[in-house]
Symmetry: C2
Subunit: 128 residues, 2 copies
DNA sequence: CACGGCATTTACGTAAAAGTCAATTCGGTC
DNA sequence: GACCGAATTGACTTTTACGTAAATGCCGTG
């Protein structure tokens, strides 16, 4: 496991811009350490970036991603906070399950659409 | 099956604004018929709205949703078009499968996060 | 030490997807 | 025919998630 990654290394690995990474830092999603003014990203930052991009692909906003990231962190020490956190996690999971249903339905309709196309091709005497 | 729905009926049903529906019309996603200046939405429009909102929840942009909607339509009559359409559908499906993987991973991590919280609660002697 | 190349900061720009507001205009009804 | 509430239109505003440009810093190499 590498100790540090430079900003450009990560931009290449994840195919994002330096602007994007600095933006994520401004938003408090990652906190790379500094050597002088230069950002040094640790493996944990790298993992966070992976999670952020995953969240984006599913259609979460930066704020929602921030919330989710909080949930991955060490659980709080206080009972009330813990219970609140569990509630939040449950909500987020319900949200994800809804997305999954939406996704399955869309996939199903696309399956149907493709089938229609294939049938239509067959009617036209094209061998698929 | 009702013949027509008014704009406000639909805004209530789907919890969106009239502005949103008009925006979707401007974008060519729905084409309600008119009686004078009043929009009359048919069941097919209603179904489209359902699909649009589903697309939004999964994180598709209006343009992507427009593409998907095209795919639900009658398959084209020309062979080249048909083959292109099938290719597009396949791409979109791959895209959705990626989203599904992302989703499952996120769900798994949230499961873990919740478990950590529950354990922590147990340590603190709280009966869940 | 000059240079190329990556980094940084600051500031402004922008596209998407609506929200908001003001000014009409319809359709029904009293 | 006056009136009211719902609907429409157009213009302007807002938020999100960065892009882009300008000016400058830092550093290893030849």
């Amino acid at each position: 496991m590498r100790e540090y990654y430079s900003i450009t290394e990560l931009t290449r690995e994840f195919d994002i811009s330096t602007r994007t990474l600095r933006f994520y830092e401004d938003e408090g999603l990652v906190q790379p350490v500094r050597r002088g003014r230069t950002r040094l990203f640790r493996p944990s930052d790298r993992h966070l970036i992976r999670q952020i991009l995953r969240g984006k692909r599913i259609g979460f906003s930066i704020n929602e991603i921030r919330e989710i990231i909080q949930m991955y962190r060490e659980p709080p020490g206080e009972v009330g906070q813990l219970k609140l956190m569990i509630k939040r996690i449950e909500e987020k999971r319900e949200n994800l399950r809804q997305k999954r249903r939406d996704l399955e339905e869309t996939l199903a309709e696309l399956d149907q659409a493709e089938e229609s196309c294939v049938e239509r091709l067959a009617e036209l005497g094209v061998n698929t």
